[in-house]
Symmetry: C2
């Protein structure tokens, strides 16, 4: 695929578009204007047209977007049709919750194996995914083409596990450890899932609103 | 607190600053320049100075930032010192994982109670948090000042649960249901945790890199 450099904000909106288009398809809607799509997503129509223009021409002036076609193109831009394989490292609570509830395949990713150090887990299978011994990881990565490691180990093991993974060819880490793995100029791609960042942003917005209310009350009191 | 309107990007960086400052404190570092902080976070010094200038003057020209002081101010901006109470709705895998592993108190939030419909859970306690019957939620919210609801119910229950919560005064939802709850012009504050968005962004970056490699190989081959 020919690629132009696209801003991070646009990339971050693509999965949202995808979810919305899936929802539209489920509701039997085949065509949508940028105006209507914008309304449903809280974006301006021009914002939407500009986002899509980064990847070529998707809509037809006056006819709107073909929902199925647009969905397919965005999925392809996101790499969902490439059949990436993932391994999950650390089958604790969060690792287990992901294996149980999260549909990797809905993202076009195949969760091929999980790894842990816990004897009672090793050799078992969960929802069709084998749980292997962590000390088999090097062999496994040599013999399987794995694109993504899902890192769910305890904080204390995060750095060591990352070293082992990257030395064995892993270039992308989906990081649930709450340890910042992104070094400037690092060759690995890290997507950090920091629950606390998300809750703290929410806390910010709550505080902002409360202060606004308080401000209004103060004004009314005068 | 007097508030100026701050861009979403700045707000999203505040928790990252906080994590970095915590790490510096743990390592006994008391003072840091915007240059050094920028290097460690992959941001430019001017970006950092600009971010902080939204909230007033934090650093001293030529002396850098006092780590503990800056940490405290950012924590306060994020509302971490306001003692927000949260309730968690739905003690399934993800709800359970949050109760087990996620430190609400590290974000200044008190997880006061959890709610479920499952008989075997109701009346029990997990890590000091009581699990109550979902049909007690109205009473609970009447008698307790709750700022945030952590929504971990199955997809199919997301909308109904949200209706009940907002009708009973909840204004902020930390949403783990993978259902987009944010309506344009909605009065509730929603922070969506979409695991799939995060994985799809990672998939995008992996694809981008692979295409770059492929492009380079193609060039070299000529």
């Amino acid at each position: 695929m020919k690629r132009v450099k696209v801003s991070n904000n646009v990339i971050r909106r693509l999965p949202r578009y995808l979810r919305k288009l899936d929802e539209l398809q489920e509701n039997g809607i085949n065509r949508i204007s940028s105006f209507e799509l914008g309304q449903q997503l809280g974006l301006t129509p021009s914002q939407i047209r500009q986002d899509f223009s980064c990847f070529g021409e998707f809509g037809q002036q006056g006819y709107g977007y073909n929902v199925a076609g647009l969905r397919e193109q965005i999925a392809s831009i996101l790499g969902m049709d490439r059949g990436y394989k993932a391994v999950l490292i650390g089958v604790g609570n969060i690792g287990h919750a992901l294996m149980d509830n999260f549909s990797f395949s809905d993202c076009g990713v195949q969760l091929a194996a999980a790894f842990d150090i816990k004897e009672s887990l090793i050799g078992t299978e969960f929802k069709g995914v084998p749980i292997l011994a962590w000390d088999q990881i090097e062999d496994y990565l040599k013999n399987n083409e794995v694109a993504i490691a899902v890192l769910c180990v305890p904080k204390t093991a995060a750095i060591t596990a990352t070293d082992v993974l990257t030395r064995n060819g892993i270039e992308a880490i989906w990081n649930f450890t709450n340890i910042e793995l992104t070094e400037p100029n690092s060759p690995i791609i890290v997507e950090n899932v920091h629950f606390s960042d998300s809750l703290l942003s929410l806390s910010y917005f709550v505080s902002e609103r409360m202060d606004e209310h308080a401000g209004q009350t103060a004004k009314t009191d005068k």
